[in-house]
Symmetry: C2
Subunit: 397 residues, 2 copies
């Protein structure tokens, strides 16, 4: 029998999703499982999405053009005016969720054997996509004690080699919730100029900022202009993960040309998701205010509750909807498994994402987890109680 | 400014889609453009699809599980009973259209520098996906004069090297419409055993056979069992290209494991398309009979009309919905451009896919085009008249 490829065998399984079978087994035992493991918003997808899909005339569900339906691209481009950037539809290539925009960005900016530098902990799938693209991820270690701040300029420069092609930023950050401060942006800009790098800016959580600052895009940084490739998506912004509609947004003609060829290879992004998404760009500002208010209340509650647990260290996240605490355990994945396999409290348990999967450095982050506050405050309260009791039992045992 | 990657620059643009701007310009000049260039069925997507999507309760449009919604996987697996194969839902990984199943199959079966062998002309995107995966496509030249039959055993063996990992088959074939005869299947089986190869079987057009023979899957060939990776899709079968729902189907545990990891990286296939697709598996047999009757009438008309044009050579296709004629021109892409840029007849013109893009061998197929019979017979009649007049003018000029 022919052998499976080495690259296939080496691909990591998702740290967020590989505990799913244990959670299913726990549910089958009758437990309620509070899911803090996955960035799946619980807020409703806004009605205009559903109305657009459901009023769509029957007939043939065609491919869209490979770079997306033109009316959607027009609205998406115009939407960047919110962030002070004037774009045309040609700057927007609609993708199968933000995920595909990551893949296209790698295809356009790197060759096999090239390197990208990424602040660590990082969105786990950068590692998977880089492996698929034969690209090495060079992590910039950020410490929980430092609030996951960018390391020193020396550390930044030490990460760059002859093969470095791009720096990836995720702002606000998945998994830490950190916002890039303006001095950190300036250091990234300086590095990009000095070392001639692309800046791939993952802005999936752009609207989720809780410090009162305005949402921002890397495309507004005029010094970076043609270096920037934005990963955008409707998934989190509008609680529409299942639509699978994202976009690669750039002013770099070469990047757009490669992304277009990649888009042609997979023919079309999903038509129904695009039809729904187009209607969402017309939502009033109050929608975003309400969503921010809800997540901010959850963040405030969850952060306060989690740092009250003895031995837990967790910086206050300023954005996205994640916390990345260090727990008083040696192996957080083992603890996550314990919670699903051998623990319950009041007929419930908690599912978390082990932190190690968000690190490219082997062994790093083993005592951390990522928590998504995608439950309401009442359920978060029960989750934290459950987590605290679980830690007591686990650490005592 | 950083440079675009070499692999990005080298990616081909779609031969099917790169003439789209010329067609748009022709339409802007007021011409009707008969689109024979793209495999976009014109038949309506069946009502159960629309009803399932449009009756779906509002709320949060969640990710599906990475390998697809379980009820859909159950129905998809059961559907293989039609073809005499007993599968479980675990054998079905739902993908973003058949395209993504091709990418996953390459990831599981090949490493960079490996080779795949493919009968030529071939589905153009095999070439693009292989390039993205750093895999070499070794073509098996099939000649229009031989009805695009598989070449000799000597030619098959000559195509295999130490690095060959898989043979790709597309049955019925896009772009030629050819069905694999049973002696051709046996030769492929023998080769797969002798050289220890995977068989990636693209069955996007499985139900479209016009010779009275029953639809078949490579998974039913018990001699191949664990070597087979099927690329399946709802796109053509149910005229639902925009749903972007396909599947990788296999009994090979290693392939399924890699495909699952690839699926996790992109989180989820589109949820709405899956919700609609699930309802389609319950269609009665009469649906397929009617669809086949319609396409068969078109094939009969178009083949007869096209071989009546002086200098055109075209085997009778037995399946799919394509013809791949040789035209009496030197450069078919130039002729296709001529038709869009400089020709009209009765206020109309014809868009075709230049054949060269379906060849991995440089320069091969330059005098061929692919025609998709995705218009009704009345429009096909006008298309052929237009094509014939266009050839007269082009060849006379």
């Amino acid at each position: 029998m022919p052998e499976i490829s080495q690259r296939g065998l080496r691909l990591p399984s998702s740290p967020i999703r590989r505990l799913a079978p244990l959670a299913a087994a726990a549910r089958n035992r009758g437990l309620r499982v509070y899911g803090l493991n996955i960035g799946q918003p619980d807020l409703p997808t806004p009605e205009p999405f559903w109305n657009a899909v459901q009023n769509h005339p029957h007939g043939t569900l065609d491919y869209s053009p490979s770079p997306g339906f033109e009316p959607l691209r027009i609205k998406w481009a115009q939407d960047y005016q919110r962030y002070g950037v004037a774009l045309s539809p040609a700057n927007v290539i609609v993708t199968n969720g933000g995920s595909e925009a990551i893949a296209f960005a790698l295809m356009a900016t790197t060759d096999p054997g090239d390197e990208i530098i990424v602040a660590e902990p990082m969105y786990a799938n950068y590692i998977t996509y880089a492996q698929m693209a034969q690209v090495k991820v060079v992590p910039l270690a950020c410490r929980v004690e430092d609030g996951y701040a960018l390391p020193s300029d020396d550390a930044l420069r030490a990460a760059v080699s002859e093969r470095t092609r791009a720096i990836f930023v995720c702002n606000p950050s998945n998994p830490t919730g950190k916002l890039l401060r303006s001095d950190e942006w300036e250091r990234i800009e300086a590095l990009a100029h000095e070392k001639d790098l692309f800046v791939v800016s993952d802005e999936a959580y752009r609207d989720f900022r809780y410090d009162g600052s305005r949402p921002e895009t890397a495309l507004a940084r005029t010094d970076l202009k043609n270096r920037v490739v934005v990963v955008d998506t409707v998934s989190k912004r509008w609680s529409a993960c299942g639509a699978r509609v994202g976009a690669l947004v750039s002013e770099n003609e070469g990047v757009l040309s490669v992304a277009t060829k990649c888009a042609q290879a997979r023919l079309s992004p999903p038509s129904l998701g695009q039809i729904g998404a187009e209607a969402l760009f017309d939502l009033p500002e109050s929608y975003y205010d309400e969503v921010r208010r809800e997540y901010k209340a959850r963040r405030d509650f969850l952060h306060n509750a989690i740092v009250s647990i003895a031995g837990v260290v967790c910086p206050m996240p300023e954005g996205a909807f994640y916390l990345m605490p260090r727990l008083p355990v040696e192996n957080a994945e083992d603890f996550c498994r314990f919670m699903l396999e051998r623990f319950s409290h009041d007929g419930a348990t908690v599912m978390m994402a082990p932190g190690e999967g968000f690190y490219a450095t082997p062994g790093a982050g083993r005592n951390t987890v990522r928590l998504a506050y995608v439950l309401d405050v009442a359920d978060l309260e029960k989750s934290v109680e459950c987590l605290q009791r679980g830690l007591d039992v686990y650490c005592g045992s």
